[in-house]
Each structure stands twice: as C-alpha cells, then as structure tokens.
C-alpha cells in the first residue's frame, strides 16, 4: 500500500481512485506540496525544543530505515527484505530515486546563489563587476546553445532516426544544430564550439597551471635541512623518476630478469608503492573507516553538536 501511495505512476487503483497515471501524478505533487508546506510551517512556528526534537526524530527515522533494511535477513528466494508487510528493499529504491530529485534541487540552489552574488556585484558596480558580467554571458550562452541544439529531440521521438534523411525538416539552422554526419566528431554548431573549443580547454588550462606552482613550490620549499627531509627527498626522487621512461633509462642497463633486477628504479618505485605505501594506506583507511562509523552514529543518534543541535539564543 505504501509503495503504491508513494509511486503514483505504477501504484494500484484502489489506493489512487483516479485511474489515469498523469492525474495521479498531479494529485501526488499537490499533496506532496501541501505536506511540505504543513511540515515547514510547523517547524517555523514551533519553539526551539520542538524543532530540535523534530529534526532529531527525522534523522533517527531516516537512519533506522537503512539499519533495518541492512540487518533484517532477506527472503531466501527473492532476496528482498520485508517488515510487517512493507517491502523495504523496493522502498529503498524509491527513496534512492527520490534522493536524486532532492539532490537535483541543490543544482538549482547553486545557480540561484551564483546569480544572486554576481547580480549584486553588477548592480552595485563592485570592483571586478566585469567578471560577474562574463559569468552571466557564459552561463546564458552555454544554457541557451545546449537547449537550442537538443530542442527538437525533446519533442520529436523520431528525431534521432530521421535527422539525416532528405526532406526531414530541422527546426534549427546548422550553426545551432549541426547534424551533418561528416562533422560527427566536431559539429560546427555553437554549443560544440563553446564546449569543446572553450570550456574543455579553459578547464584543462586552469588545472595545468598547478604543475607550474608545484615546480616552484618544490624548488623553494623542498630543502634538505634534516634527516627526515632527506628520506622524503630520496623517496620523492625515486618515485618521480621511476614513473617515467627517462628515469627508467637510468637503470636500464640492469637486466630485467637477472638477480639484480630489484635495483632497477621502476622496481624500487613499485616496492615503495606496494610494500611501504600499501600498509600505510591500509592503516589510514582503517582509521578513516572507524572515524566515519563513529561520526555516522553520532549524527544518527543526534549526539553531534552543531547546526540544529545547539541551543539557539
């Protein structure tokens, strides 16, 4: 029943009364909006103590669902977990997909945030407002060109099949939506120019600047002033040179299969990675895992101090 209620497109008629799935969806959305308004209104109007209890209750219930779904032994045949007639395994799928929707709103929040900040910069002509203007130009150019290119495919189900056939009417000119098969690898439309020509190269450039800073920082800061620094330096050089052909050429004279093969720089580098680095990473992993478990328990049981859990003045 619960599955049918929260899944309006596939839910059974006896719950939904209305047979048409699209009407069900509309009713579902309206009911969900109403419920959200009531809950948010209640949170807003309630006192600090009640709000805290509500948040703690929601956090505990959300965590409890996954605890039950994980620990209750599944049905031997279907491998699905049920509790009092409710199929928790199927429900976890719906919750997983619902989470995608909720997480999708964070993108909207991100866009709103950017628009708000850069809009204020332009409105008040703050220092560097030109950069804010370039944000709006870039944002609109990418959004409009991407939607314009794919617009026809959203509404015409036969678009992909027919787009290259003679007589098929394309809604957009070729500079907006280039379907020429000879341009398949680099369409001559504005979105491809913006994405492949601008975005991809600019993002790569931003990241590659890091290499210059790393060299400069290594040169300035990596000075052997203690035994520990010396060990670190030797290891770094072995790792750095052991990873590239030029470094490997230093010990290329040592036979690959002979007794001394372990002295080849790439072998030493692999030894450091496997035998020294491996256990250290494992130890860090265990520590992180235990820390994450502790943190998860603290959040689930509302023992964590911070937002929503502190006394507010």
């Amino acid at each position: 029943m619960i599955l049918g209620l929260i899944n309006p497109l596939t839910g059974t008629d006896d719950i939904w009364i209305v047979g048409d799935p699209w009407y069900r969806l509309i009713i579902f959305c309206l009911l969900a909006a109403l419920l959200c308004t009531v809950v948010l209104g209640a949170i807003h109007m309630a006192g600090n103590q009640a709000t805290r209890l509500l948040v703690m209750g929601c956090a505990f219930a959300a965590g409890l669902f996954y605890v039950l779904e994980f620990f209750i032994p599944p049905d031997a045949k279907s491998q699905e977990v049920s509790l009092w007639g409710v199929n928790l395994t199927q429900m976890s799928g719906i919750i997983g997909n619902a989470n995608q929707v909720v997480a999708g709103f964070t993108f909207l929040l991100g866009v709103y945030n950017l628009v708000h900040i850069h809009g204020n910069n332009i409105r008040r002509l703050r220092k560097g407002w030109g950069y804010s203007l370039s944000f709006f130009i870039a944002f609109l150019a990418m959004t409009v060109s991407a939607f314009a290119r794919d617009w026809q495919s959203f509404f015409d189900p036969k678009y992909d099949e027919l787009k290259n056939t003679a007589g098929y009417q394309l809604w957009m000119p070729s500079w907006v939506n280039d379907v020429d098969p000879t341009h398949a690898l680099m369409p001559h439309d504005i979105f491809s120019v913006l994405f492949e020509g601008f975005y991809r190269n600019m993002d790569a450039t931003m990241f590659s600047i890091l290499a210059f800073y790393i060299v400069s920082a290594a040169y300035r800061a990596f000075r052997i002033r203690s035994k520990e620094a010396a060990v670190l330096m030797i290891t770094a050089v072995i790792m750095m040179m052991g990873q590239v052909p030029l470094g490997q050429a230093i010990t290329a004279a040592i036979p690959k299969d002979g007794f001394w093969h372990g002295l080849r720089i790439e072998e030493i580098s692999q030894f450091v990675l496997n035998t020294i680095n491996g256990p250290v990473q494992r130890a860090i992993g265990f520590g992180l895992g235990l820390g994450a478990l502790g943190m998860a328990l603290r959040i689930w049981l509302s023992l964590e101090r911070g937002t929503y859990f502190e006394e507010t003045s």
Partner: protein, 289 residues
C-alpha cells in the same frame, strides 16, 4: 651612489625568479612533444592485471564504464578512457558509459568514445544503442548508489538523451552486477574518489572492478589491489601509455610520456639546484666558524 650588492652562488641558485622557473618547465615539457621524441616504457604489474581482467570477460555481458572526470584532469583521464574503449572495441565487448561525479563528463566521454570508434575503423559496425550507450550523469548519494547496486534498471531509467533503457539493445535487461548478472566488469576512469563508492556498494556482487585514476590518487589504491577488490589499475598518463603499449595502440599517452619525462627531470634539476644553495650556505657558515 651605492654599489650594487654582489650576489654569491648561494643566492643565485637558491633564489631563481619564479618566472624563469615557469618558462623552464614550459620549455622542458614542450620540446619533447614538438620533437616527437620517443622513449621506451616499462609496463607495470597493475596495468598488466587490468588487461588480463579485460581478456577474461565473457562476450555476452556488458562492461560498465564510470567516466568520472572533467576537463581539469583530461591530460590523464582522456587517454586512459580512449585506451580502455579502444581495447574493448577490439575485443568486441559491449559497454555502457555513465558518470556519477561531474555533470560535464557524459559529453566528454561521448566525444572520446566516438573518436575511439573512428580510430578503430568501426564507425559503420559499432552503433550507439546496439553496441554501446551513454547513460549520462547521476548524483551519487548513498541511497541511490545502494539502489544502483541492487537494480540498474530501477536506478537508471533512460540514457543521457532520455531514451528509455528498454528501447536500447545494449541496455535492455541489464540489471545486475557480477557472475549472476549481466554486467561483467565496472571500470572507473576517474579524477576523483568515486572508486570508493564501487568498493563499498559493488564488492559484495563479486563484479570485476578496474580503475584508471590520476597519478596522485594511485598510492591510495594499492591496498585494494592487494586485497583483490581491484582487478587492475592505470596510474595517470603513464598507466594509459603502458596500456597503449601493451595493447599495441598508437595513442596520445605514449607520445606524451616524453613530455612528462622531461618535466620530471626538470623538477629533479630544480630540487638539486635548490639544495645546492643550502649546501653552499652550510659550507660558508662552517668556514666562518
């Protein structure tokens, strides 16, 4: 007029202007690329393991490629994805692309696959929807990942253009991971820590997991190679180059390794110069008593 201060070797070596350092790196990286210098490369065990994992895959199942990189790490991730896809094409293994970390990844992955198909001369025989598909971007939060590990069809209902999975030959019926399911292997080509998701959620299904990550991430993955949770590993551009060499591809990574080699050499030279200034300074202090 005051005389100009005399600079000794200690200062000259220890305080090289950063702009000169930058220009040096630029030239050291550029020269081998322009000169097309080729250098021999040794193949490491993790790369061989990945190839072996691919070689053991059954033809009737599909490979899932988590293309989790954006343009920032394309110098490493793009050649890795290209090398992996080209090898899958040669093995005639069907594959499905998707992404869980960066929204721009599906577009970048799509271009890589289209070019790989072109490079392998399979444009007319390897069709979208029949032999491969792009599922686009999904937000990887824990509830969705649990659902994805349980049922692919439930978690991904359509491809990146909104076409239902049931309408694509390659995705129809693809629902479970591992020996009992329809997905034989998951390869994560990533510039982030997305592989942790697959260890946590897919390891119980016994699906083969491969990884192609950036160079800085690789050391963290060795415990998983040891434990067998990871079936193979490509480390940065070097991993891509090794894989190209191992599978006899003529790709970008092998050509670019000379540039990376000389960049590493340059860093080494700069470290020596910096430390030489420290040694000279120490010697001078000792001489003064």
């Amino acid at each position: 007029m005051q005389p100009l201060p005399t600079r000794n070797w200690e200062d000259i070596l220890g305080k090289i202007d950063r702009r000169l350092v930058y220009i040096g790196l630029f030239l050291f990286t550029l020269a081998p690329l322009v000169g097309r210098w080729a250098l021999p490369l040794n193949t490491t065990e993790p790369t061989k393991m990945l190839k072996k994992a691919f070689d053991g895959l059954p033809q009737d199942k599909v490979v899932l490629i988590a293309s989790d990189w954006d343009a920032g790490t394309q110098a490493e991730s793009r050649p890795q994805l290209t090398a992996v896809v080209r090898y899958l094409l040669r093995k005639k293994l069907k594959f499905i692309l998707f992404s869980v970390t960066t929204p721009t990844s599906p577009q970048l992955g799509q271009t890589v696959v289209e070019r790989a198909i072109e490079a392998e001369g399979m444009k007319d025989t390897w069709q979208y929807g029949t032999h491969w598909a792009n599922m686009g971007y999904r937000i990887a939060n824990a509830p969705w990942l649990r659902n994805f590990a349980r049922s692919i069809q439930d978690a991904m209902k359509n491809d990146w253009k909104g076409v239902p999975l049931a309408k694509l030959d390659v995705t129809r019926g693809v629902d479970k991971f591992g020996p009992e399911g329809q997905v034989s292997m998951l390869v994560d080509v990533t510039g982030s820590s997305s592989i942790d998701n697959w260890y946590a959620y897919l390891s119980p299904s016994k699906v083969t997991i491969g990884l192609a990550c950036t160079g800085v991430m690789a050391p963290e993955q060795y415990p998983f190679l040891d434990s067998g949770q990871l079936s193979g590993l490509l480390t940065g551009m070097k991993g891509a180059a090794e894989f190209e060499q191992l599978t006899e591809q003529k790709g970008f990574a092998l050509a670019a390794m000379a540039g990376q080699s000389f960049a590493h050499l340059y860093i080494f030279i700069m470290l020596v110069l910096g430390n030489l200034s420290v040694i000279l300074g120490t010697m001078k202090k000792r001489a003064r008593g």
